[in-house]
């Protein structure tokens, strides 16, 4: 306590624990470091001692002169960067970028060395004071003093954009230099790269491609235009990989896509003589694939292609199914459908990368136009019939499967699957009964496919037909085992026992069989009824066939393959030389239309005319007379005499089938209504219609008028009632 402080109260002075370092020490130490930084920038570092500089920087931080060290660093580095900036500004023309690149690498090297010296500050002082670390500081100063200086910023951008333009027009530029400069912008931070380069780059590119696409589209066809667009797109992608930031790829391709594709999409697709329709017609897989790959990149691109393709398929398909020429030949009709389907399948798989949405569009288009022709179900069944009768001979098993699968595909498009079923049943019955079916495996395979597609119910009757065929075989074996010896050398009988209901219904008008045959038939009847009680047999003479051995006038022997009706007629001539039409009709009781057809095929077909007719004419008259044609000859010993049948249904037959289908639908519709009402109890009219349609759509498209009729019928029969309050509501009556 000194005497001057006497008046003051007792006071404790804070203990000065800090030893103050000589203020000149900090100044001296900084001078050494500052000098070193100068030398580093002047490429004159060989005289420096790293250990000494490191220790000096350490000491400054240790003795709390970190702030001085840091601010000294900022001002010294700024000074050098401004000098560098001057040099770069002064560089002429082409050497501008090179000078910038050289100075950038100089700065980087200097920055690294400065950071080495100041490592201790970087590690301790900077984090605790939240200052910018040395390396980042160096980059920021470079950005502010060089890249963002007035005389460099715009010039740099223009130089870069001009070089890219030159490259786009075919010149070769120094990509290495470009890469370094762009890399520098990226090193300075994403915002520098984006603001000082990427944004203007994208704008300029958009202008460029807008102009170029306008020029292209005026003078090229669609295919060529797309080639050019693809090339430009690939060039830009390559440019990004060569010297731009990888993140720019999506942005620049976006620009090209928008300017070259999106803006011209409709014009390209509809281009006369080279647009999408033309490509589809000519199977231009490569062009189509290119269009797909380019259009998929832009919004609504694929839907544009899909829509045009869909309407094209619909139009051409409609033409196809309504073409009267095609309708003449069902097999050809179906073949052209399959051809069309194959064509588009191939396009979708080769060019449209099996795109699901395109496949769906194809399917819905086929569904649309196939059902435009009400005879499609019949034709498809006829096509199968043709294939299974003869078409599959010598075809390998896998190929059969392929054909059947294709048929199934067409089948799936049908709305009236029950109509198909009707025809299929008829055709199958004919095939089975006449033994015309080529491959049992193929038949069964198709049944299995139908079953997986439509369920058990759909095929149960078809399967019943196969079962009948098999059972009949066994029955016949049993019959001959029991009666074989007794029958001796008489005619042989083969009976196919058909379950009623499984087979297409036939008006069973039995004709008079020759006595030999009717005796045999009676034997079989008693055998069959003896083994199966409670059954009824009726003969379907209109569906049978017979093999006859005939000896003609000149002693020539032939084996004739004829229908049962024909057999009945021919057998009459064993006991008579000449018979009139009326006599034949009386003796056989064959229905007139069938008899006429039968006589026509026996007497009027050249090469098969085992009978002679008086007078000679094409048609059978009621007053005609018939006798055995003694002069009949044939190169073959076996002669097959077909019946003159129209393969395709005649108009009245068609009407009949149609009517049968409608008749069959009634109980199905009623069953559906009852099922739905049983679970819902109360439902309004529109909803019933919708539900019924939905339930039945796997079999046929129910007609709303018909559904309404069925509802009314159910109301009459007290299954349903109308709600008293709301007449649109129906109630289920349990």
């Amino acid at each position: 306590m000194s005497s001057g402080q006497k008046k003051r109260n007792f006071q404790i002075e804070a203990f000065k624990h800090k030893v103050v370092v000589d203020p000149k020490y900090a100044e001296k130490t900084w001078k050494i470091l500052e000098h070193a930084i100068h030398e580093i920038y002047n490429h004159n570092a060989s005289g420096l001692s790293f250990e000494e500089l490191y220790r000096n920087a350490y000491n400054m931080v240790l003795h709390k002169f970190g702030e001085k060290l840091y601010s000294g660093l900022v001002s010294t580095m700024t000074f050098h960067l401004q000098t560098m900036s001057k040099c770069i500004e002064d560089a002429h023309g082409g050497s501008f970028l090179e000078e910038l690149n050289i100075k950038w690498s100089d700065h980087n090297k200097a920055l690294q060395m400065i950071r080495d010296i100041l490592m201790y500050m970087d590690r301790t002082f900077i984090p605790s004071t939240h200052k910018t670390p040395v390396h980042e500081l160096g980059l920021n100063l470079w950005r502010d003093n060089v890249i963002h200086s007035d005389k460099i910023q715009t010039r740099l951008l223009n130089t870069l954009l001009e070089l890219i333009l030159r490259e786009r027009t075919g010149e070769v530029i120094n990509r290495g230099l470009m890469r370094n400069i762009i890399k520098m912008l990226m090193d300075l931070g994403p915002s520098v790269y984006q603001e000082d380069f990427e944004k203007p780059f994208l704008e300029v590119s958009a202008d460029f491609y807008r102009a170029e696409s306008q020029e292209f589209i005026e003078c090229s066809d669609c295919g060529d235009y797309l080639k050019k667009a693809e090339r430009r797109l690939n060039e830009e992608i390559e440019r990004v990989s060569q010297y731009l930031d990888a993140k720019s790829e999506a942005k620049i391709t976006n620009v090209v896509e928008k300017e070259m594709i999106a803006n011209h999409m409709l014009r390209l697709v509809h281009m006369e003589n080279s647009g999408l329709v033309k490509m589809l017609l000519d199977d231009k897989f490569e062009d189509l694939g290119r269009m797909y790959n380019l259009f998929r990149r832009v919004p609504n691109g694929l839907s544009t292609i899909r829509d045009v393709m869909t309407s094209h398929i619909r139009d051409t398909g409609k033409q196809l199914v309504t073409d009267p020429e095609k309708s003449k030949n069902p097999v050809e009709f179906v073949e052209s459908l399959l051809e069309k389907r194959d064509k588009y399948d191939k396009i979708i798989s080769l060019a449209f990368s099996n795109d699901k949405t395109f496949q769906n569009a194809l399917n819905s288009s086929f569904e649309y136009f196939i059902n435009l022709n009400p005879r499609s179900p019949e034709y498809i069944s006829l096509f199968v019939d043709d294939k299974l009768r003869k078409g599959l001979k010598g075809v390998k098993e896998e190929d059969i499967e392929i054909i059947l699968d294709k048929v199934m595909m067409l089948f799936r498009y049908l709305q009236e699957k029950d109509v198909f079923e009707k025809y299929y049943k008829q055709h199958l019955a004919k095939r089975l009964l006449s033994g015309k079916t080529v491959s049992d495996d193929a038949e069964r395979s198709l049944i299995v496919k139908l079953k997986t597609e439509c369920g058990y119910q759909f095929t149960s009757k078809l399967e019943g037909m196969f079962t009948d065929m098999k059972t009949s075989q066994d029955t016949m074996q049993g019959f001959y085992a029991a009666y074989g010896a007794e029958l001796g050398n008489g005619p042989t009988l083969v009976v196919q026992v058909l379950t009623t209901g499984s087979w297409p219904t036939q008006s069973s008008i039995t004709c008079n069989l020759p006595s030999e045959m009717s005796a045999l038939c009676e034997k079989f009847r008693s055998y069959y009824l003896g083994t199966h009680t409670g059954r009824r047999l009726s003969w379907q003479t209109n569906m049978g066939t017979a093999d006859l051995r005939a000896t003609f006038g000149n002693g020539q022997k032939y084996e004739l393959n004829v229908s049962t009706y024909q057999m009945c007629v021919l057998m009459l001539f064993n006991n008579a030389d000449c018979l009139s039409y009326r006599e034949v009709e009386q003796a056989t009781e064959i229905p007139p239309s069938d008899l006429k057809r039968c006589l026509q095929s026996l007497a009027c077909v050249k090469g098969k005319n085992v009978l002679r007719k008086e007078p000679m004419s094409k048609d059978i008259g009621e007053d005609d007379a018939f006798s055995v044609n003694d002069k009949f000859t044939s190169k073959l010993r076996k002669v097959k005499i077909g019946t003159v049948v129209a393969q395709k249904e005649s108009e009245p037959e068609k009407q009949e089938t149609r009517q049968r289908v409608e008749e069959d639908r009634k109980p199905q519709i009623e069953a559906a209504i009852v099922r739905i009402m049983k679970s819902r109890r109360v439902l309004d009219h529109n909803n019933i219609i919708a539900e019924v349609t939905k339930q039945l759509q796997s079999r046929f498209l129910a007609n709303p008028g018909e559904i309404k009729k069925r509802i009314e019928s159910l109301i009459e029969r007290d299954f349903l009632e109308r709600d008293n309050a709301d007449r649109r509501l129906y109630r289920y009556l349990a």
């Binding site: 570092a45 060989s46 790293f50 250990e51 080495d116 490592m119 301790t124 984090p127």
Partner: protein, 441 residues
């Protein structure tokens, strides 16, 4: 023998050392040696003939050189640890020293490294291990921060409000959550610098575009830089708040559904595999326990369990819960340290208890601490009274037990940075457990 070209000679504080450039390269580019021998600075053409003078302590240099040569740290008893750390910082070798200090963490080979007495009054709330070996200890309204050298840094607090939870976002940043004092806009959550204790950011909660004060509860964060906290606002704005760690802005809020508890949660755990947050509210904070898994992408509670309606026996009361993603299960513990397991793939809500309570009952100390759970690399840890149990294997067999004789019951523990920290409740002391470096052969 050929001439060895990479020999290097040092004169450190007057003592000569010879080593090789290969050994020095171990130090890495980001060290004095890395810079010194970089081609930029490789000034003398003939390296072998000259010696490099370094004006530092030779004894410490010897230890550090040995560390570079062998990868092992051996500190002679006459060198204070702090001295060595200071020298390591000068050379830029502090990270090497930290890494070599102990072996990789293994719950079955831990030994007590140190116990540190604190000065804070009152009971400890939480202890949290930092990512590089430091820790922070919450006591009442203060959080004391220690670095890996166990040097104490300036403590942190949020307006001196009672701290509920603390969490290390990275080795430099700690987030703490605190209670709100009625009538003032304080409490909530703040981000602090671990080294200086400065408040760097305060996280706000807004409801309907209005900033509201709130009480921050349990904390968690994920690798997407999202920060989660259970929040209680004054006007029943309970739920889980989500903030962006980079911008500090609130980006989401999962409101507590009626009849459930989120805002009071004791524990949050982010599940990386399923991108969901486990939220657990436990007895005694609430009368019942509520554990749920939240999916923030579609604001959906994808899994939940509660003991509401179940008989509240002590044996069946869940005291802590932890999700174990590898086995798709949640592990829970009761106050007798029985472990129970629930399947995250089923919503049946069945807890399979593996009972050991018969052993524990009747041995409870005067001032018990309820069990807490932690999971670390396939080992399950559970604290109970004054010891920590380690469970391993698919059936979670008890394999080790850690106990320190003084300090009383363990109220919280935490694993991180190859260390286990345990905070005691009776005396203000915490233990640091480490794995010894691996044997020489």
């Amino acid at each position: 023998m050929g001439v060895q070209k990479d020999r290097v000679r040092f004169n450190v504080g007057g003592k000569i050392f010879e080593t090789t450039a290969t050994t020095l390269a171990i130090a890495g580019r980001d060290s004095l040696f890395g810079a010194m021998f970089d081609e930029n600075w490789d000034l003398q053409p003939n390296v072998t003939s000259t010696e490099h003078f370094i004006d530092r302590n030779p004894d410490c240099f010897a230890v550090l050189l040995d560390l570079l040569r062998t990868g092992e740290l051996y500190i002679p008893s006459e060198i204070p640890e702090k001295l060595l750390y200071r020298e390591a910082l000068f050379y830029g070798l502090l990270d090497h020293v930290r890494a070599a200090r102990c072996g990789p963490f293994d719950g079955n080979r831990l030994h007590l490294e140190r116990s540190i007495m604190g000065r804070a009054p009152g009971d400890g709330t939480a202890i949290r291990a930092g990512p590089d070996g430091g820790c922070c200890v919450a006591h009442g309204s203060m959080v004391h921060v220690y670095d890996w050298m166990l040097e104490e840094h300036p403590p942190i607090s949020l307006d001196y409000q009672r701290v509920n939870d603390a969490i290390w976002i990275d080795s430099e940043s700690i987030v703490i959550s605190a209670c709100e004092r009625l009538g003032r806009d304080d409490g909530g959550m703040g981000l602090f610098s671990a080294s200086t204790g400065e408040l760097r950011y305060k996280f706000h909660v807004t409801h309907d575009n209005q900033v509201k004060s709130y009480t921050g509860g349990a904390l968690s964060f994920n690798s997407d830089y999202k920060l989660f906290s259970s929040c209680k606002g004054r006007s029943n704005e309970y739920g889980i708040g989500v903030w962006d760690q980079v911008t500090g802005k609130q980006i989401d809020f999962f409101y507590e559904p009626p009849g459930w508890s989120l805002g009071d949660a004791d524990k949050l755990q982010w599940l990386h595999g399923t991108n969901c947050l486990l939220v657990a509210t436990l007895f005694p904070r609430k009368d019942n326990c509520y554990i749920s898994l939240l999916d923030f992408r579609d604001k959906n509670m994808v899994w939940s369990w509660s003991d509401v309606g179940a008989p509240a026996t002590d044996e069946r009361r869940v005291r802590d819960a932890i999700a174990m993603e590898e086995t798709n299960s949640v592990c829970v513990v009761n106050e007798y340290e029985d472990l129970g397991f629930m399947d995250l793939r089923s919503s049946a809500g069945i807890v399979r208890w593996s009972s050991r309570s018969r052993l524990m009952k009747g041995k409870m100390p005067d001032e018990p601490c309820y069990p807490k759970l932690a999971l670390h690399e396939g080992q399950l840890f559970s604290s109970m009274n004054d010891s920590i149990s380690v469970f391993c294997g698919p059936d979670w067999v008890l394999t080790s037990r850690l106990r320190n004789s003084h300090g009383g019951s363990i109220c919280d523990f935490s694993i991180g940075g190859d260390r286990l920290f345990a905070l005691h409740s009776e005396e203000n002391v915490f233990d640091i457990w480490e794995t010894r470096s691996p044997p020489i052969v």
